[in-house]
């Protein structure tokens, strides 16, 4: 009762030092909060980039290294992607789905290419029995929904994906253009010739998609089993054309690669997380984050030291009052509580005002960052493409403009909790030691000073 009453009376009637503490805390909190909010926004933006780039990690052959090392033909085996290893890695709890694809060239005498002039040139069927046969790319995947539909720009516009009921059947997903060129509809049959043994297989059109894959509109999708059948690799579980791991959390990409790169037995296969693109896009953000972190710590430490000095003066200035209370038999803990309570009241007011103002000021700071840093960097970066498999690309694009658009100041519960903890830490750090001096005071000495 006395502690609370006297704390309020002291603050009201002798406000000079309390105002000094308030100003310091307000300025320090304000700057630190602005820094934290901007950092949080930067983290969100980086997460946005990471998410936009996708949580897909590709197991890729390193052809450049192979060429640089001038590998012998027999050693090119080291560039083969192992489906067995992929399945082993896919046991990781962070993996949502592993996409194992087999891509093979097929041909048909009856089908025409849907490629427009000036676009991808239609392939001529090499090794086909007929000179008039046109070649197409057939990709078979281990999943019902191919990765290009899950993470790329292809959208099923008609029909359906494969299901468990289609097990053992040869089914196809074809593009709208291909369907239109060849007058194909859902349920129609298509004959495709294997480029390995020239055997003809009949496929049922199950779905028609919108969009263009990197292989053009002639690209067809089927099951892994069907593709392997046509590629002549049915009995070979050790090889795949492309392997992709879709992770549950895009932010776990780096740790996932770190964990599993040691499992890859050859130096010519690597796990790619589109790091170059990510780093290019996040470089300006990292720079801002670094500067903000430095400023934040400078302000935090300087603020804590100033606070420490002021609180020391604050306590010393009231040594006589402490002596008087001690001589009356007041416990040191209660005296300490009164001082803590006073500083707490000032801190809470400073916190509330600083939090409110920082929310606004960080908005202005964010606008400045977007206008002066991100947008200016825009010209330095080009659109980044995510490649899936050999020679294939998926059309997801992320550029600085997207990042700038996404850069919003956000204050969520986590940030508020962070601000509270930080403020509490600052107050404890800067007031703890000077207030502890009270515990060392002796009544007679305090009264004599």
């Amino acid at each position: 009762m006395r502690v609370v009453k006297h704390a309020f009376l002291s603050l009201r009637r002798k406000p000079t030092k309390a105002i000094m503490i308030f100003i310091i805390l307000f300025v320090v909190f304000g700057l630190v909060f602005t820094g934290i909010i901007i950092q949080n926004s930067i983290t969100s933006s980086k997460e946005f980039v990471r998410k936009e780039l996708g949580a897909v990690v590709e197991m890729k052959p390193d052809y450049i290294k192979a060429m640089t090392d001038q590998l012998d033909n027999k050693d090119y085996e080291q560039l083969s992607l192992s489906a067995t290893l992929a399945m082993e890695i896919a046991k990781d709890a962070d993996v949502k789905q592993v996409y194992i694809n087999e891509t093979t060239a097929v041909s048909s005498e009856k089908l025409k290419s849907a490629q427009k002039e000036g676009g991808n040139v239609s392939l001529v069927a090499v090794g086909s029995t007929s000179a008039s046969a046109v070649a197409f790319m057939l990709t078979g995947g281990n999943t019902f929904v191919p990765i290009e539909f899950d993470y790329g720009s292809l959208v099923l516009s008609e029909g359906r994906y494969r299901t468990a009921e289609d097990q053992g059947k040869d089914t196809l997903l074809i593009s709208e253009e291909f369907a239109s060129t060849n007058s194909l509809a859902i349920g129609d049959s298509v004959e495709l010739t294997s480029s390995v043994d020239n055997q003809i297989y009949t496929f049922e059109v199950l779905g028609i998609y919108q969009g263009s894959s990197s292989n053009g509109v002639d690209q067809m999708y089927t099951s892994l089993e069907s593709a392997k059948k046509l590629a002549g690799t049915v009995s070979d579980d050790q090889h795949a054309s492309s392997i992709n791991f879709a992770l549950k959390d895009p932010l776990e990409v780096d740790s996932f690669i770190e964990r599993h790169k040691v499992e890859i037995p050859t130096a010519y296969i690597y796990l790619d997380a589109k790091d170059t693109e990510y780093k290019n896009l996040t470089r300006p953000l990292d720079l801002i984050a670094t500067i903000t972190t430095i400023l934040l710590w400078v302000v935090f430490v300087a603020g804590a030291i100033i606070m420490l000095a002021i609180i020391t003066i604050f306590v010393r200035d009231r040594k006589f009052e402490i002596g008087l209370l001690l001589s009356s038999g007041e416990s040191k803990l209660k005296i300490l509580s009164q001082f803590v309570f006073e500083i707490l009241i000032v801190s809470i007011i400073a916190f509330a005002l600083a939090a409110g103002i920082s929310n606004v000021s960080s908005g202005y700071a964010a606008k400045w960052i977007v206008n002066n840093q991100l947008v200016e960097e825009k010209t330095a970066s080009s659109n980044q493409m995510i490649s899936i498999g050999m020679g294939q690309e998926m059309g997801t694009e992320v550029n600085i403009s997207d990042v700038a658009k996404e850069f919003n100041v956000s204050v969520d519960r986590g940030v508020i909790l962070q601000l509270i903890l930080l403020s509490f830490g600052l107050v404890i750090f800067s007031t703890g030691a000077p207030l502890m001096i009270i515990l060392s005071y002796k009544p007679r000495e305090s009264l004599q000073d």
Binding site: H6, F320, L326, S327, S331, K442, P443
Partner: protein
């Protein structure tokens, strides 16, 4: 003879002066009776204030014991002893500067463990009124009162604790003669009518003459100088 309420037993205390230890109190012993008004005289530097600081547990003796109602105050707990068994009035009107007169008095009432019956603030006003501090003055910040008024508040603050043992370090030093006499009369009344033990350190012969027993501190020992028959 009244029962012994407070006792100094073989107290010794010294400090380092010019590299040498100088003993101010040497095996000092004395027993104080309940309901008596004591004054302690002695020249400057004789150790009067130190003796008062030890007796009121503001400092700790090097050797010896201080007994309250037969119990060592060390065992009782110095803080608890200061809180519930004694009150002290200082030479400088030691008051909290951001509180009013009545709040200063109330402050001491809030510190003691005793539960107050009735309105604590009204009791504080009554005590202040008995010291000649009317309500309008009692409600003023302590810094707005004169030196004499502040000392009256300091005395009221000590009395408000309602304890049996009251120490004073030149409590009438800042008061005019008339007020000083009033306070001395009050101390006498507190001792004789209410059974309080009053121990005052003073330079004033006038105050000493009005006490029941005058003690003199000489060469670290406490001797009876005068005793009212």
């Amino acid at each position: 003879m009244n029962p012994i309420v407070f006792e100094l037993d073989q107290l010794s205390y010294g400090y380092i002066d010019g590299g040498k230890k100088r003993m101010i109190l040497k095996d000092l012993s004395f027993q104080f009776e309940k309901g008596k008004f004591y004054t302690i005289l002695g020249p400057s530097g004789s150790g009067k204030t130190t003796l008062l600081a030890l007796a009121s547990a503001l400092d700790v003796p090097e050797t010896g014991r201080i007994m309250y109602e037969g119990k060592d105050i060390k065992k009782l707990g110095y803080t608890k002893f200061r809180r519930n068994k004694m009150a002290i009035i200082f030479q400088k009107y030691n008051l909290t500067d951001y509180l009013t007169g009545v709040e200063n008095v109330e402050s001491n009432m809030m510190i003691v463990d005793k539960k107050w019956t009735g309105n604590r603030k009204e009791t504080a006003y009554t005590i202040l009124a008995s010291m000649g501090i009317v309500k309008t003055k009692a409600d003023r910040l302590i810094t707005k009162l004169s030196g004499g008024e502040q000392q009256r508040v300091a005395i009221a603050r000590a009395l408000a604790k309602d304890v049996d043992l009251i120490f004073g370090d030149e409590p009438t030093g800042a008061l005019d003669t008339a007020t000083s006499h009033e306070i001395i009369e009050l101390f006498k009344r507190l001792a004789h009518e209410y059974g309080k033990t009053i121990i005052i350190v003073t330079h004033s012969d006038d105050v000493a003459q009005n006490s029941d027993i005058t003690l003199r501190l000489h060469e670290g020992k406490l001797n009876i100088d005068r005793k009212e028959s």
